[in-house]
Structures are given as C-alpha cells and as structure tokens.
Symmetry: C2
Subunit: 304 residues, 2 copies
C-alpha cells in the first residue's frame, strides 16, 4: 500500500525569465510535486508522457524513488508549455500550450495504488479529478489544486470535487476567481462553508495563507537574493506540504503548519534555478537548515 | 524632554474606495503617525496647517495627548490630497494634490523639543529632513520615510539623510526605486551598506520585511474581512512601531520585532474605517488582543 499518490501533468517547459531561459526542460505539476514530496515520503505518480519523453528523465524520477508504475507512455508528443516572466516574477505569461497526449488523458489508477494514504489531485479537469476519486478507497487526506480555466469553465464539476476533498491548494488569483470576491478572508469563509476543511492560498513571493474553521495561519515566503525561475514553485510547495504530512501522519493544526513551512522551504529552493535543477542536487540537511532559518525569519516574542 | 518627535504632514483627504468615500476628512502622514504612537508614548507633532483647520481636529489630537506646541497655524489653506483605490487596495491613485501651506513649510523645532529620545522624519523634502536633524541633539533613534518623488528628484540629498538615520521605513515600490533593483534582498544589502542600520519594507496586504546586517524578519499583514480604506496604513504602522520602541526603549532585535508587530496591529485597525475613525474609538486592550492574534496567526513549532 502506497503512501502518497499524485495525479497531474508531466511536461516539457520552455521558459524565459529576466535571468535566463531554458528550452524543452523537464516540467509539469506532477513532476514538481512528486520530486518535492520524494524528500519526505514514498510517492506514486499517475501521469502521461509521449514517445519523445527521454529515458534520462525517467531515470531522474526513479532516482528520487518515485514509483512510475502509473506513468503511462503513449504514442504522440508529451505536453508542452511555453511561458515567460517579467521582473514581476509573481505572474507567468503563457505563450503556448500544446496539450498533446494530455488531451485524451484518462487517469487510470493501477490496482495496487487504490488505497493510498494520501492523494493529491493536480489541476486537471475536475471531471477527471472526480473520476480519480471514484477509483480509490477514501484516503486519509485528499488535497487538490485547480486553475482559472476550470474555475471559469467547469465551475459545477469543480464544486463537486471541492465537496469531497480535505484541502484546496490554489494561488491568490484563483482564490479570488473561485470566491468571486477580492477579499481573501471572505473567499475563505465562502469556500470553507461549501467544501474543503482547509484552504491554502499561495501568494508567490508574498507567502502563504491557510484558513480552516478554527484558525488562520500566515507565513511569508523565504526572501531570496536570486529568483531565477518561479515555474513549479506552487507545485513544489504542494509536494513538500503533502510529502511532509504523509511522512508524519500528523493532521493536527501544528502538523499542518509545519507542513506548510516545509512546502515553502521546497518552493524556495525550486525558484533558485530553472526546471527542477535545484532539487536535483538538494540534500535533506539543507531542507532542515532552511526550515530553521524560516523559524528565525518569522519568530517574535509573545506578550507576557 | 520629550519622548517621540515626528515631523510630517497634516492634511485633508478626499478618498474613494470600492467600499465608500470620504470628503475632506482628517489625514496626513504625521496625523496618522502621531495618533498611532500616542497609544504607546508621549508624542510631539511638528507640522503646519492652514486657517481652515477646524478646532475639532485640534481637540481630537489633544485628546490623544499629542503635544501640539510645534503645530504651526498659518494663513492659507491646509494641504489637501485626493485619491482613490480600486479593488486592488494595495495601490493608491492620486487624483489631486494641493500643497497649500505645506509648500513653504520649514519645520522649526521649538526649543524644548530639541533633545528628543526618538525622532521620525515623515516623507518631506530630504533637504528639510536634514534641516530638522541639524536642529536637534542626536536622538537615540532616528527613523525616516520618503517617497518616489524624492527618490527620483533629490536622490543625493536623500542619501545624505539615509547616512544619518538608523531606520528607513518605506514601501516595496519605493524600495525598488531606491535600490534600482526588483529584488528586495539585493535592495536591502545595497541600502544597508550605504546608510541606515535597519530597512523596513512595508508591503501593504502582504505584510512587512525588516532587514539589518544580522537578521531578516518577515511578518504577514493581519488578514481582515473588511478593508475599507488603506489610506494612512503605512504611517500608522510607523507610528505604532516607533511609539512602541519609544515606550520600551528596547532596541534589541527582539524589541524591534515586537515593535513591528505593534505597528502592523495599528495599521490593521486603521484600514477598517475611513480617515482615523477606527483609531478614535480604539482601546489599548484591543491592541494587545490583536497582538496575541498575530502571534497565533504566525506561530509554528521549530524542529526539535
């Protein structure tokens, strides 16, 4: 029985930022997620790639201990995304999207993965997210992401997903679209009333907010002197967050908060280089060291 | 001998936000600053108003215990600012500025205020900031603010000010202009190398960062369900920050961090209503209660 199951995309990204560019490099939400999570727990990846997906990328994912039984290889080309960032690094401008094999992707969960402890549904079509939920025994924790495209185009299906998940992890723009309000506290109230027990709002360089019925938690992003490429930061955050939760099994408020900091730590490494390059050479002791730096960054003494 | 001396503007503001509007209400950087600081310490206000400034505003400032000996009343009209905010509440759009009596304002520090413990220089012309510094014995702590107009137009004079102050308190847009870099960590390094020992960057709804040679501190803004009018939030922050520092005299890292949270608390109240209306009815116990909420908002357990 597996620990953490993720369904999402594996892609080739072509990215330009003010600090360089990268062409057809390894990307995709499930790639970033599973690589980040692999520092904490066992991960099974459900995704699809084309004939053009090289063995070297497979080898990398395997080297991270990621179970690729559910990685479907199909005739055709791998999903491709091309985008750029200006100095306003918080926002990606999509220039091209070629869904390719992703267009007809119907996630099929292999028999041995149907009782995951935890499940993360990447930002695929909400109908497919529902389909995945129907294929598995209810995990102890289900989290999902989504994107503006589905918030606008498949709102009803998306709410049906949200009624079934424990944690929704989205960015601030998506949250405002979903809640149809500019105020994130109002959006959180509305969302929690209708669906997930926890809403995590990623704000890029401005950090993270988590809302649930009892508490609000806020953490800044780790201040970095060099952000080379923000691509994958949000997925890496989710991977570190879920990976850490899966490793401890601690679903208390304190456990969630720590997991959010681990997610933020992982995201802060990812943006230091293009693609997953920073994660390729990352060691666990660096993760712990940055967690401690996060504590020093945010700590202040309470009133006596 | 006074405790905290502030030099800045007193104004009539006309403000429109998505949640309402206010016409010719009490505003100005020194007004917000001194009112916020007055919850913590004795404040002396150096500013100028015109003949049209009503006794009721004077009475309000006096009711907060603010010493108005240095508030000059002059023939002519009080400084007026008119601006609006869209749903993107972080950014004010200035529609009109009438300097009026502020145009020829030359702050003159009354004899009895020339040995302040602490001094805050509002965002007036850096030449005037220097002039104020020359009129006083070096206080234990000097902080200043500035604005894009001076960063662009009086850069050299501004750097001469910055070499003489301990703390620079500016917003993120101003910081990027000052450091001529989009990365705030780089801006901080550059700024600290040339001038103040502490750089505090206000990021509106995204909170605050403080940099000094040894530490970085980050705090989110307090998440609010209703932000009616962000006008004065930054000045209120500075007032709460300096007011608390003046009250404790604790200039350690821990003291600075607590003061930053008190500043954030004060700002979070100000934006709940137009003008200084929320501060008019604020009680100290509410400030402490929100400080404790801030602690709960940001706390997470360190690694063992």
């Amino acid at each position: 029985m597996g620990s953490l199951l993720v369904v999402g995309s594996v892609a080739f990204d072509t990215v330009r930022t003010p600090f360089g560019e990268a062409t057809e490099v390894l990307g995709g939400s499930a790639t970033y997620f599973s690589t980040a999570a692999s520092f904490f727990t066992d991960v099974e990846l459900i995704a699809v790639v084309g004939e053009d997906f090289p063995e070297s990328h497979i080898d990398f994912l395997k080297s991270r201990g990621i179970d690729l039984t559910g990685l479907e290889r199909r005739g055709g080309k791998t999903f491709r995304w091309r985008g750029e960032y200006t100095y306003q690094l918080n926002e990606a401008h999509t220039l091209e999207t070629h869904l390719n094999v992703l267009e007809t992707f119907r996630p099929k969960i292999p028999e041995q993965y149907r009782s995951p402890k935890m499940l993360f549904l990447g930002n695929i079509d909400p109908e497919l997210q529902l389909d995945v939920l129907n294929q598995v025994e209810r995990p102890r924790l289900v989290a999902c992401d989504t994107m503006n495209f589905w918030i606008g185009g498949k709102r009803d299906a998306l709410w049906r997903v949200l009624e079934k998940v424990d944690v929704l992890v989205i960015n601030d723009g998506e949250a405002r679209d979903l809640g149809q309000d500019s105020n994130l506290v109002k959006v959180a109230k509305e969302t929690l009333a209708r669906g997930p027990k926890h809403l995590i709002i990623k704000r890029g360089e401005h950090g993270v907010l988590m809302f649930n019925q009892k508490h609000t938690f806020g953490a800044p992003a780790f201040p970095l002197e060099m952000v080379k490429d923000p691509t994958g930061a949000g997925d890496t955050f989710a991977g570190g967050f879920m990976g850490h939760l899966a490793s401890t099994g601690d679903l208390s408020e304190a456990g969630f908060r720590r997991a959010i900091i681990f997610g933020s730590v992982m995201a802060s490494f990812t943006v230091e280089a293009f693609s997953l390059d920073r994660l390729r050479c990352l060691e666990y002791k660096e993760i712990e060291a940055r967690f401690r730096e996060f504590k020093r960054l945010t700590h202040f003494e309470d009133l006596s």
